[in-house]
């Protein structure tokens, strides 16, 4: 910025075009974002000798280990996105329109802000202390109901366990994003519907839900991406014993577990593609919902 001409009161001759001012930002983005990603992109299209190939992408579908990782990842992300989206919506609805005292709303929003950011190592540990072998709830179940959690076949160190942990940051994110949309439902719409004789169900079925649907769908897809990219929580909880895509990438960084660096790059690009699609759909749907909810 300092190399720019000083703005004077007299019309000074321009030596540099205005876009020069954003160069530092783009240089930084190139150094720490685009070059690293470009390296992975290029590597994913190369053989180990450096020749061009599409084989790495073809191998993604052949390699059963990678397939399992992707399938596990997509499963966990989809389940926690749908359940988290549903529960988050119900929770936001309950607090905003469900007749609960108003202060609960502010409390919920603050909790959601904290919980949606409370992910990673401490979250995984917190659930070990809750549902692990000597966790508090595990012991409660045994002491009070005589129910042996381990013998029921459930363990927190499994895909189902991981899904329970992910829910902790999934539904608060839904609450945070959907609450403004629920707020945006105008009372006149409901009154107009009631004046025309609509029941509460009909109002929801034909007015409110169609307006909220792009938001709900979009945010659910965002939740999918949110879970799909998470690595630390899963790694801390399972130590890498359950292959999910980000954990396999992590292992690949440490020591080439796929025994083919270029296959690793292709796998990383596969993740980026899935994330990119989900964020794009989210953006499009969010824009659609803003049409109605702008107030």
């Amino acid at each position: 910025m300092t190399t720019l001409e000083a703005p004077g009161t007299r019309p000074a001759p321009r030596r540099l075009p205005a876009w020069v001012g954003v160069i530092p930002f783009f240089l930084f983005a190139i150094a720490f974002l685009f070059l690293p990603i470009a390296f992975l992109v290029i590597g994913s299209f190369q053989t180990i000798q450096g020749e061009f190939t599409l084989q790495n992408y073809a191998s993604l579908t052949d390699n059963s280990y990678i397939q399992t990782a992707y399938v596990n990842s997509i499963q966990i992300s989809a389940i926690t996105a749908i359940l988290g989206g549903l529960f988050g919506f119900l929770l936001a609805y309950a607090v905003i329109l469900g007749g609960l005292p108003g202060f609960l709303r502010d409390a919920l929003m603050t909790f959601s802000g904290v919980a949606s950011n409370f992910a990673g190592v401490p979250l995984a540990l917190a659930f070990v202390f809750t549902l692990g072998n000597v966790g508090l709830v595990t012991m409660w179940l045994e002491d009070i109901f005589g129910f042996q959690l381990q013998e029921s076949g459930f363990t927190i160190y499994s895909i189902a366990g991981l899904a329970i942990v992910y829910m902790y940051f999934q539904f608060p994110l839904m609450v945070l994003i959907i609450a403004p949309a629920i707020d945006g439902l105008r009372r006149d719409w409901r009154e107009a519907a009631e004046n025309m004789g609509a029941s509460g169900f009909q109002y929801w079925r034909y007015v409110a839900l169609p307006i909220l649907m792009p938001s709900i769908l979009g945010t659910t897809i965002l939740l999918f991406g949110n879970a799909f990219g998470a690595q630390a929580t899963a790694f801390q909880l399972t130590g890498g014993t359950i292959p999910i895509a980000p954990v396999v990438i992590g292992a690949q960084i440490r020591g080439d577990v796929l025994r083919d660096p270029n296959l690793g790059y292709a796998m990383a690009m596969g993740m980026v593609a899935i994330m990119g699609v989900s964020i794009t759909i989210y953006t499009v749907l969010q824009r659609r919902s803003e049409r109605w909810l702008r107030s």
Binding site: F28, A29, F118, P180, P246, M275
Partner: protein, 301 residues
């Protein structure tokens, strides 16, 4: 029949007047209010039981009474051990330092850029927004993968030197901070008359550095602070990028390692970590009062 109809009409009118004058929640049927409470309580339990379990677990560490030599349980031994551990303090100090440097670099990049885009080059706005949203598409594990591969060999073998790794860590965190820093700063700029302020400063003879430093920055205080607290909340607990670039030095990897080696101390440190997140988000909520719907989310890790 006719009286029944008028009665119903009267009731309908009554309902309509009530609807117009009272907030909607007053009219809810008790059944759906009960349902709302049920959902809220489930959410409340989901939120607090793991925290309570962590707290309870952190008290399970036994302590030996110095006089009677008996084991005392529950005790605060896990916290005492944690506070006595130099690695706890050094990891916290390291992460705070990295967080503060990240915030400084991020602000120095984002504030002038967002300002300049608004004032002089609005056509570059989509490009800048695209870059700031990239961290939502690139998961941290992929970002660090690329960074390690490109900076582990010539011409820039930064991962081989300790300071080089620290620089890469800050660089990656600055990229992670782009979405909310840019959003916060851009919202702040939208709330003030950038052009008039700039012209006023210019007509009094201020140069660009001075305009940005003494006019724009002070006016963005609330926006900058909220971006800064969110960045801090993310950097302090971050694990993935930290562990691959600098090992166990930062707080996140320290806690992870502790979780593998110790029984009760991890519970204490997890709660402390939660407290830090809570404090940062609490500051954010204070700053963001009255601005509903601002995204305060860093994304999962």
């Amino acid at each position: 029949m006719s009286t029944g109809t008028t009665d119903r009409l009267g009731m309908a009118l009554n309902v309509a007047t009530v609807a117009a004058s009272e907030p909607e929640r007053r009219r809810r049927r008790p059944l759906s209010t009960a349902g709302a409470w049920l959902i809220f309580i489930i959410g409340f339990l989901y939120f607090f039981v793991p925290l309570f379990a962590t707290f309870e677990f952190s008290l399970r560490a036994a302590k030996r009474d110095p006089v009677t030599d008996e084991l005392i349980k529950p005790s605060l031994a896990a916290y005492e051990n944690t506070f006595a551990d130099p690695a706890f303090w050094s990891s916290l100090a390291y992460s705070f330092t990295v967080g503060l440097i990240t915030i400084a670099v991020s602000l120095l990049l984002i504030v002038p850029t967002a300002y300049w885009v608004r004032l002089r080059v609005p056509r570059l706005r989509p490009a800048v927004e695209f870059v700031t949203l990239m961290p939502f598409v690139i998961p941290p594990v992929i970002l660090v993968f690329g960074i390690i591969r490109i900076y582990s060999g010539p011409p820039l073998a930064l991962t081989n030197t300790p300071n080089g790794s620290d620089i890469l860590l800050v660089g990656a965190y600055v990229v992670l901070s782009f979405p909310y820093m840019y959003r916060a700063v851009d919202t702040g700029l939208a709330a003030m008359d950038v052009r008039s302020l700039t012209e006023a400063a210019q007509s009094m003879g201020a140069g660009w550095p001075r305009i940005i430093w003494q006019v724009i920055f002070p006016n963005l205080r609330a926006a900058i602070l909220s971006g800064a607290f969110l960045t801090l909340a993310i950097v302090i607990g971050e694990y993935t990028i930290a562990t691959f670039l600098v090992g166990t030095k930062p707080f996140g990897p320290y806690l992870s390692l502790l979780g593998q080696n110790k029984a009760y101390e991890p519970a204490a440190v997890s709660l402390i970590s939660f407290g830090i997140t809570w404090a940062a988000m609490g500051m954010l909520a204070l700053l963001g009062r009255g601005t509903r719907g601002r995204v305060q989310v860093a994304g999962a890790r």
